[in-house]
């Protein structure tokens, strides 16, 4: 009797173990190699903002879409775009396209991107957009972001936010006065006017995301 009970427990334990193993595997996020492409529906996230509150896309119930920018404090390219990112939020948040900035770096590798440092930079520059930390580094791989700054424009639809544009903010990192093509502004303006985005993917040099 005792023997069979103990055998039974063994079996139960094995089943439990298998179940745990299976569920761990099943729920471990598989890193997407290339991330989102144009037309893909974005999975919502919940990330901590510099004010300590957690932010999800679904919090913005009336948003027509989003300008999601992966950016950070430490990358010189990201720094050159700080004021332009703030200007985008000032211009487009009230039109229904708020900026959502996400800091994707590992802060152990880049201490200059710590939450405190993000708070300080936001205060100095007067950021009015959420500046979120991808603390588990799970959101940027979903998007397929590889560098800072890296911009995604999303459009709200019934099935969720859909990617409309991926790439650079404009075509001159070094001098805003020499910009010839405002990629992000053109794309958002087009979406606001219900048109089709002409240039939906652009490339630019940036700092690799630190893992």
């Amino acid at each position: 009797m005792r023997r069979s009970t103990s055998k039974f427990y063994h079996l139960k334990e094995i089943i439990l173990l298998l179940f745990v193993l299976f569920s761990t595997l099943a729920f471990t996020p598989i890193p997407t190699e290339n991330g989102y492409d144009i037309g893909d529906v974005v999975t919502d996230f919940k990330l901590e903002n510099i004010d300590g509150k957690f932010v999800s896309l679904s919090d913005f119930e009336t948003a027509k879409g989003f300008i999601v920018v992966f950016t950070c404090n430490t990358c010189p390219y990201a720094v050159l775009y700080e004021d332009r990112i703030e200007a985008l939020n000032k211009k487009y948040a009230k039109l229904g396209y708020p900026v959502i900035a996400i800091m994707p770096n590992n802060v152990t590798t880049k201490p200059g991107d710590s939450m405190e440092a993000m708070q300080q930079r936001a205060k100095e520059k007067g950021f009015t957009f959420p500046y979120l930390m991808d603390v588990d580094q799970l959101v940027y791989p979903q998007f397929g972001a590889t560098k800072t700054p890296h911009t995604y424009i999303l459009k709200s639809t019934k099935s969720g936010p859909v990617v409309q544009y991926i790439g650079a903010i404009d075509d001159n990192y070094s001098d805003p006065s020499l910009v010839k093509t405002y990629y992000v502004e053109n794309a958002v303006d087009t979406l606001l006017n219900g048109g089709l985005i002409e240039v939906s993917k652009t490339k630019a040099i940036g700092c690799s995301i630190k893992i």
């Binding site: 010189p76 790439g167 990629y183 652009t202 940036g206 690799s208």
Partner: protein, 161 residues
């Protein structure tokens, strides 16, 4: 060729006569860089895109230097710097001097990145470091950082005995 073969001699004026004057930088726009990416002779070319502000680039730079030293005859290393123009004098030239880089350093200054990045490789999103290894018969773009061993073993696939 906007800047064309404009070779800027940027001298750091210093009263310290013991300090060696830095070598002038070779600065090009993308049109000026293209010939370095398309040489058609018997050598194998290792072209690394880097910048002094890019920590993983700086970390792997000694491996490229070592490759240049160990494969003097068959291999030519080009270190293409993407440093910012306002830091050529303050960061790039002091860096080259301090580390006494023996590989050829070329500076790429062309803000219209979306125009030239895809011409280097269609899969390159723009993060650095990246490296292009090519010769007359083979061309591979590496969207990654290297250890010396990894770099050497990749290079060896280009060098026929």
């Amino acid at each position: 060729m906007k800047y064309g073969l404009l070779t800027l001699a940027l001298f750091i004026f210093s009263c310290n006569t013991n300090q060696k004057e830095p070598a002038p930088l070779e600065i090009y726009d993308f049109t000026g860089i293209e010939p370095f990416l398309n040489r058609d002779d018997s050598k194998t070319y290792v072209v690394n895109f880097w910048a002094t502000w890019c920590a993983p680039c700086v970390k792997e730079l000694p491996h490229f230097e070592k490759i240049q030293k160990n494969y003097t005859d068959d291999v030519k290393v080009f270190l293409i710097s993407l440093d910012f123009p306002h830091q050529y004098k303050t960061k790039l030239q002091p860096f080259i001097q301090k580390h006494q880089l023996s590989s050829k350093v070329i500076v790429l200054d062309d803000p219209d990145m979306n125009a030239w990045i895809p011409k280097i490789d269609s899969d390159w999103g723009g993060a650095i470091p990246v490296t292009l290894i090519y010769n007359a018969s083979k061309r591979v773009f590496y969207n990654r950082a290297f250890t010396y061993k990894e770099l050497e073993s990749e290079l060896k696939t280009f060098l026929t005995p």
